[in-house]
């Protein structure tokens, strides 16, 4: 019951964004995806969520081939992603933003509303429920984005730089939110993140990309000690 990319490659013209990359996320696991800018991290998330079709290789969910299906099909199968920029519907209220995901799964409005409010309460956003999404602060917007993603009852949650632009305290709050998602919902979570302190303390396992290829994969302490990773990416800041 895992989500796996098997030997995927993607090229954009002459640029190789992913080159023969394999990676698997298990349920209940938090997997960090790190690497310098241009290493192919977002491309890999795009592939894992159906937004980009790999030129070679396959995506499997619990053994079922998903390659070539549309993003909506990935979402219905339980693979949900966030974007670097949270894309809330700004013309809808905060609650309605979460309800969209719920009615998309076939719930009626009343039930969707009840569950949306419960999710917003989990993320400490209940007081914002009736306000337009455009009124939220940056940190609140991030949490509302997570609440909306959870409305889809993901089996796997792919987060593209969830802490980007957050202050230290907000990042800490986000980390707690992610860990509580794992605890409550038991989903596998993949996190692209540049904040090394956050990645090291949050993730069970870390996968390192460089120039589109896998450089290393292992527990945080192994990654921290890996000489290839230090040269390619972490440099002196890893100490």
């Amino acid at each position: 019951m895992e989500l796996a990319a098997e030997r995927v490659s993607v090229r954009f013209g002459g640029l190789v964004a992913n080159d023969d990359v394999s990676l698997a996320i298990a349920p209940g696991e938090v997997l960090g995806l790190i690497g310098p800018n241009g290493a192919g991290k977002t491309t890999l998330v795009n592939i894992l969520s159906g937004f980009q079709r790999p030129h070679a290789g396959a995506i499997r969910l619990a053994g079922t081939e998903m390659t070539g299906r549309k993003p909506g099909a990935f979402a219905r199968a339980g693979i949900v992603r966030s974007f670097q920029a949270v894309r809330l519907f700004r013309g809808l209220t905060v609650s309605e933003n979460v309800e969209v995901g719920l009615v998309g799964r076939g719930l009626g409005r009343a039930e969707a509303r009840r569950r949306a409010l419960a999710l917003l309460a989990d993320f400490d956003l209940l007081h914002r429920a009736a306000q337009p999404a455009s009124a939220l602060s940056y940190g609140e917007e991030r949490r509302a984005g997570l609440a909306r993603a959870l409305a889809l009852e993901p089996r796997f949650l792919l987060l593209d730089e969830p802490a980007a632009g957050l202050a230290a305290a907000e990042a800490e709050e986000l980390k707690r939110a992610i860990l509580s998602i794992r605890e409550r919902h038991g989903c596998g979570i993949l996190v692209i993140e540049h904040n090394m302190a956050l990645v090291m303390s949050l993730c069970d396992r870390i996968h390192v990309l460089g120039g589109g290829r896998t450089i290393a994969s292992g527990r945080p302490d192994e990654i921290r000690a890996d000489p290839a990773v230090r040269t390619a990416y972490l440099g002196s800041t890893a100490a």
């Binding site: 549309k70 894309r87 013309g91 309605e96 998309g104 719930l107 909306r148 889809l152």
Partner: protein, 295 residues
């Protein structure tokens, strides 16, 4: 004098209501597909011919026929012409909508000829009623009432129902809505069905007012209403309805207030006003939120 002013006002509001309903129908489709559907005119036209077909039996049957005709044609157009073009760029969609519009209009001319036909539909409403000493046409009051009821009903639908929520989300960011599990086909087909329903209402009121149907009817309504959606803010539904209403009201007020020798240039003044609005507020009066941040 006062009575005359009220008469002009009621006239303006009733015409404004017709344009608001038309603009809302166009705005709904633009919202979910980024398609400016000029074939909306043919939805109005086909509903008009349904009225012609059934008005002799009963008014209720004529209204029902108009609704069924316009909704079916809207769904047919969506399925055959626009669904294969989903995701095409707006210019392609615009040209396609012209093609569909011309195709249906010319086919209709081939089938029934281009001569206008007289329809004695709802003529009981043509009589005057006196309210507080002011003589008003009953039909205009009915038009205002129907417009208000349909605008309120559409607002309720969009705000409170499941499909309405899906439609608003899809209108703001279609791809994101799909990622969240919204079924594109169902949302878009519903939007077309509602635009057909609104077109049928406009057709019934318009035919009752003019007493005529012809293959070219609806076109002028649609063009002016489209101008209204642009003024209101393309992509925003309240903007579309408000812009349509404003343009309709402006037409009648210009007609009433311009000196007689300038009235033939009414449209020129209208478009001058439109140009001024667009220079001052290029996003429209009630701009759409989120239109610039699509994936």
């Amino acid at each position: 004098m006062m009575g005359q002013a009220i008469q002009v006002l009621v006239d303006a509001v009733s015409v404004g209501g017709l344009y608001a309903l038309t603009a809302l129908g166009i705005g709904l489709i633009f919202g979910v597909m980024r398609l400016i559907n000029f074939a909306h005119a043919q939805l109005i036209m086909i509903a008009g011919y349904a009225v012609l077909l059934f008005f002799a039996q009963s008014a209720a049957l004529a209204v029902l026929g108009a609704v069924v005709g316009a909704v079916l044609l809207a769904l047919l157009i969506e399925r055959t012409a626009f669904r294969p073009l989903r995701g095409a760029d707006p210019a392609t969609l615009l040209i396609a909508s012209f093609a569909v519009s011309f195709f249906i209009e010319k086919t209709m001319i081939m089938l029934v000829g281009s001569r206008p036909k007289g329809v004695d539909f709802l003529s009981a409403l043509a009589r005057q009623v006196e309210i507080a000493g002011v003589r008003l046409q009953l039909l205009q009051l009915v038009t205002i009432l129907v417009s208000v009821v349909l605008l309120v009903a559409t607002t309720w639908f969009l705000k409170s129902t499941r499909l309405g929520l899906e439609m608003r989300a899809a209108a703001e960011n279609f791809r994101m809505a799909e990622v969240l599990g919204i079924r594109a086909n169902r949302v878009i087909a519903t939007a077309f069905a509602i635009s057909g329903l609104l077109a049928a209402a406009v057709a019934c009121l318009f035919v009752a007012q003019t007493g005529l149907v012809q293959p070219r009817m609806g076109l002028q309504l649609v063009i002016i209403a489209f101008v209204g959606t642009v003024i209101g803010g393309l992509g925003s539904l309240p903007g579309a309805a408000f812009g349509g209403f404003l343009v309709g009201v402006a037409t009648i007020l210009l007609q009433a207030l311009l000196p007689p020798e300038l009235r033939v240039f009414r449209e020129a003044f209208l478009f001058l006003a439109v140009a001024v609005v667009l220079v001052v507020r290029p996003q429209g009066l009630i701009p759409a939120r989120g239109l610039k941040e699509r994936i």
